[in-house]
Structure formats: C-alpha cells, structure tokens
C-alpha cells in the first residue's frame, strides 16, 4: 500500500467513527460493528417505549382475580380482565 494512503487510514476511520456512532466500516450483511459507549444513553432512549406509544402500560394492572374482586366489591366498580393465551398481556404482546 502506498505510504500516503496508509497514513490516511487513521484519519478515515476516525472520521467514520465521529460521523455516526456505530461505524459502517467493514460491515458485512450480518456483522454488527462495536457500539461506542457514548451512544448508550441515546440508544437506551430510542429503544425504550416512546412517550404516548403504549397508554396501556400506564394502567396499574392487578394480576390476581381475588384481589380484583375484593376491590371491585368494596369500591363498587366493574372488573376489566385482559388476557393473553401465550404469556402475560403486559409482557410480550
């Protein structure tokens, strides 16, 4: 490799790193480049549920029918039961 080109590599890699967090450099169809630790908070915020995305998460669900019946009888309210056949409806949906 030409010495001028070789010396340019560190500059290129540094620029690629700065340009977008996870670098595209040497990315194969399946490989995942390293994630800079500086991206932790940004990615955490991007992956967590977004504001207003899932209003059902804000409901204080009970998970016991007995407790629900006791409270419903005491407070004079009807019961809403949300069921899923393959895990809790509050988990993977």
């Amino acid at each position: 490799m030409n010495m001028r080109l070789r010396n340019a590599w560190p500059t290129f890699l540094f620029t690629a790193f700065l340009s977008g967090g996870i670098s595209r450099a040497a990315e194969s169809p399946t490989s995942v480049p390293e994630i800079p630790h500086a991206d932790l908070d940004r990615l955490l915020a991007a992956i967590r549920p977004q504001p207003g995305e899932s209003p059902w998460r804000e409901i204080p669900w009970l998970t016991s029918i007995r407790e629900a019946r006791e409270r419903a009888a005491r407070e004079g309210k009807p019961i809403v039961v949300f069921t899923a056949a393959d895990g809790s409806p509050l988990s993977r949906t």
């Binding site: 992956i47 549920p49 009807p78 988990s91």
Partner: protein, 313 residues
C-alpha cells in the same frame, strides 16, 4: 380507567385457584381477549367486541350502573375450600436480580447513525398499525447476580459472565422479539465481560461489553423456511453494585443487532421489513419495584425454546 374499573391482566394459563378460574369462566375471561364483569361474576358487555377504548367500555359502565347495588357491591363468598392453582405463577428468585428488557426496530439515518425505525403491521393496508416496543423480563438468581462482579474489584479487573447467564440473556432478551411470541434462540457463540471502572467501600461501578451469535447462521436462500431465525448482536452497558446489599442498584444495557430468517414461525400477523437481514435494538433496565407488573415472569421461562429450560445449568 381506574376511576371506573378495576383492571386485571392475566396469562390464560395462570388464572389462579379454582374460585378464580370459575370466575373467569363465568365472565368469559380467557384466550386473547378483553372481558368485563361484576365482582360477583355477572358478565358485562357480552354483545360487544370489547377493546380497551372508551367507546366500548362506556357501554359496559352504563350496563353496570343500571344494576342494583347488591350486584355492584356484593358480599363475596368465602374462598375456603378453593383448590390451589394447578399452575402457580412463578416468582422471581428472592435476593436475585430482575431486569426489564425492551425490543424495537432500528435503522440507519442519513448520517449512518442507528436510530429507532417505525414499522407497521400490514404496511400496505389502510388500517395498518404501528408495531409497539416489546418488553420482557430477565431473572437472575442471587448466585448469578454475584457472579457478575469481579471477586477482587479493583479498577480494571474484569469478569466473564457465566455461560448460563450469557445463554439466558442473549437467547431470550438479546434476540429480535418484536413479534411477541418468539421462542428463545440457541447461543452459538457469545462473550459478556464486566469490567470495574470505579470501586469504593460501598459500591462498584462496572462497564459491560458483549456480543453473541444466535440461532441459525445466515442463509439468504432459507429466509422463508421455518425455524431459520438467527441474529448477531452487540451490547454495551453500565451497572452499579451495592456491596453491603449484595445487589445491583443500576443495570443499563443496550444492544444493536441484525436478525434474519422467517419472521412468521410463531404468529400470523406480519411486520413486514424489506431489508434482510434487518436491524433491531434491545435494552435492559433494573426493576427495583414490586408491583404486579414488576413480577411478571420472563416469557421464555414459560415457553421453552431452543435454549432449553430457563434456569438450567
């Protein structure tokens, strides 16, 4: 919702003891469904296609309010003699760690940065709806919790997480589980290192790095074949450990991965993604509370996949 109703969420397979099961059967609570009823077990809203929306639930409330007080606030029968649950709901290991995981789709923006991607069910359909962030939990025993902290925590010292922890973390909440009912994937290769960044008498700060290859190796030709799912994921994170309590007080993880294979193994509804492989993101945070929502068992604890039993060695 709580102003007018008492909300309960249940896994149909864990509806409780015989009196609870009987109540569910009376009001038609089971399957993938919303059901409503009085405390005494009178079914409400029977004719409606119930959703968690004001339009449907307001009709149920009208029906309830038209009932006599004795039905709205009944004296409940004793539960003595009730048969205990056939399948008790698993509880987190006492003294262990509970993490809540999240999963979402990612994509690169114009600058190459990974950002959240908005994907839809039945994208071409005018009634399409956006795929929501998925969540799940990860449980660790007290012994597994301690195994994540170097025995002599000096700055720079490190520990590799035991293989059973790597298998559980990567295989259950390190995969793309955006379709929800997705079984765990076998871990083909993985690493998960925790390195001490700061240590005092009271606490230890850890930096986390890891990567895994999961499920089937990528094969473009088999992308529509059943059981062809696989992924590669990298994670980073940070954790704080309280030495006196022997417990984590913070545990943040984020991961970016590429997934491939047939997305329709487990469900009929499709979140169509044109790219193959596609980007996904996962995250985990410590659960410190003890609300019912905080105690929901991990999906793959109950639905075993390729990774085997949840707490298996």
């Amino acid at each position: 919702m709580t102003k007018h109703f008492i909300p309960v969420a249940l896994d149909t397979y864990f509806r409780g003891s015989s009196d609870e099961l009987e109540f569910c059967e009376k009001i038609g609570a089971g399957g993938n469904h919303i059901a409503t009823g009085t405390a005494g077990g009178r079914r409400l809203g029977q004719e409606a296609d119930l959703r968690l929306r004001e339009r449907e639930l307001s009709r149920v409330l009208d029906e309830f309010l038209a009932l006599p007080e004795g039905e709205r606030m009944p004296a409940l029968p004793s539960t003595e003699g009730s048969r205990p649950p056939d399948r008790p709901v698993p509880r987190p290991p006492p003294g262990g760690t509970v993490l809540r995981g999240y999963c979402a789709y990612l994509e690169r923006d114009e600058s190459g940065k990974l950002v959240r991607a908005k994907r839809f069910y039945y994208e071409e359909n005018p009634d399409r709806w956006a795929a929501e962030t998925q969540s799940d939990t990860l449980w660790l025993t007290p012994e597994e919790t301690r195994s994540l902290v170097p025995p002599e925590p000096r700055v720079g010292s490190r520990v590799e997480a035991p293989s059973r922890v790597q298998k559980r973390l990567f295989g259950t909440v390190g995969i793309d589980y955006m379709e929800g009912s997705v079984n765990s994937l076998r871990v083909r290769e993985s690493s998960l290192t925790l390195r001490v960044e700061a240590a005092t008498e009271g606490s230890i700060e850890l930096r986390i790095e890891g990567a895994a290859k999961l499920g089937k190796p990528h094969d473009e030709a088999s992308r529509k074949e059943p059981r062809s799912r696989g992924s590669e994921v990298r994670i980073i994170g940070r954790a704080s450990y309280d030495r006196a309590k022997g417990a984590f007080t913070r545990f943040d993880l984020v991961g970016a991965g590429k997934a491939w294979g047939c997305k329709m193994d487990y469900v009929d509804r499709e979140i169509r993604i044109r790219e193959h492989p596609w980007w996904y993101g996962v995250a985990c945070e410590l659960v410190a509370g003890s609300t019912p929502l905080d105690r929901i068992p991990p999906y793959n604890m109950l639905h075993y996949g390729e990774a085997g039993k949840y707490f298996e060695e």
